[in-house]
Symmetry: C2
Subunit: 203 residues, 2 copies
């Protein structure tokens, strides 16, 4: 049966709890996070190939031109991208690679890698989301209102996703995602070589 890793894209509205759920998943060593390439300068303690792959703008441009990034985006004047080779190497080792990216990037990746699983992690309702954002106590009303507007747009893109996972409790969300990864390994689409293997063991 299918024994490679699965590329898992976890997306969802700001405040859905993606970071917490990803940290919980990462406690299991069958998961790993993708290491991004960035043009940002390393900060104290950041290590090449662990925190990020640090590249110049010119090098980054080369990567995009040669199609070596699964997706990329700019943020505060720096570029960030997901290196295809890194992801492929981890998948071949049987690790499930987690990408925590926003919806547009997720859709880009799914186009490049149709085998990737897109998960929309979400609270049950927009009012739950608002409670979570207010509960953080770190954002102004204006920022919260902007995030809620964005969540309203994001949820409408739901048909781009493979699965909707409610984050009612972190342990529930984590267990649902583990179940999805396990189940996807039995998908007939991932086991196109099964008939051949089934028949070849005859002799």
């Amino acid at each position: 049966m299918f024994d490679k890793g699965i590329l898992l894209i976890i997306s969802g509205p700001s405040g859905a709890g993606k970071g917490t759920v990803v940290r919980e998943l990462m406690k299991n060593d069958k998961y790993c996070l993708s290491v991004s390439v960035t043009t940002r300068a390393p900060r104290a303690g950041e290590e090449e190939g662990v925190s990020y792959y640090f590249r110049t703008e010119e090098e980054f441009k080369g990567l995009t031109e040669r199609g070596e990034l699964l997706e990329y985006a700019s943020f505060c004047g720096n570029y960030y991208g997901t290196p295809l080779k890194y992801v492929e190497a981890r998948l071949s080792e049987g690790k499930n690679v987690i990408l925590e990216i926003e919806v547009q990037g997720a859709v880009q990746v799914k186009e490049r890698c149709p085998d990737a699983i897109l998960i929309f992690l979400t609270p049950e309702s927009i009012s739950d989301l608002e409670d979570r954002l207010r509960g953080r106590g770190t954002e102004t009303d204006e920022v919260i209102s902007m995030r809620l507007d964005r969540a309203r747009e994001e949820v409408r893109l739901m048909d781009k996703y493979d699965y909707i996972v409610l984050n009612d409790l972190v342990r529930n969300a984590t267990s649902r995602i583990n179940g999805i990864v396990e189940t996807e390994k039995y998908a007939s689409e991932r086991n196109r070589d099964f008939p051949e293997k089934f028949l070849s063991e005859k002799e």
Copy 2:
């Protein structure tokens, strides 16, 4: 989230252990078996609506003509079919309905009900299958050889299936199927009404 039942079609080569796995699944009351319609005469102890729905040939013909059967087949001069209404009623109650049928019937059902999940339950290899068939000690060499030929054909239809489930141990196969059913409930295709529900709870 999706709270209806899922129609689960379990198929696979003769000797794969479908009957044992289905009996194990049925210990959980979230599953039920479909009750078939048949033109066969009731045997002692068989109850209408429990063992089968017993119908005359004419009545059966009426059911097929009105499209009220999900699939049907004849066996030893009698007709057997799966009544659509029965299946739909159980699914609305949230029960996962199991159909244990052969590959051709499974493909017929999937055409009528694209939401059904087709599971190919199989040993790891054709030689494992042969061992199982010989282990039963009930079939002649000729019958075994015929069943192996049929299994070779069936495994080639694998792309018609959604999932391939290995039956190495009954408890593994059962737990894989439970996982599939659980995971399918998070599929975005089964939750098309989520955005509306997500937004409506705002007020």
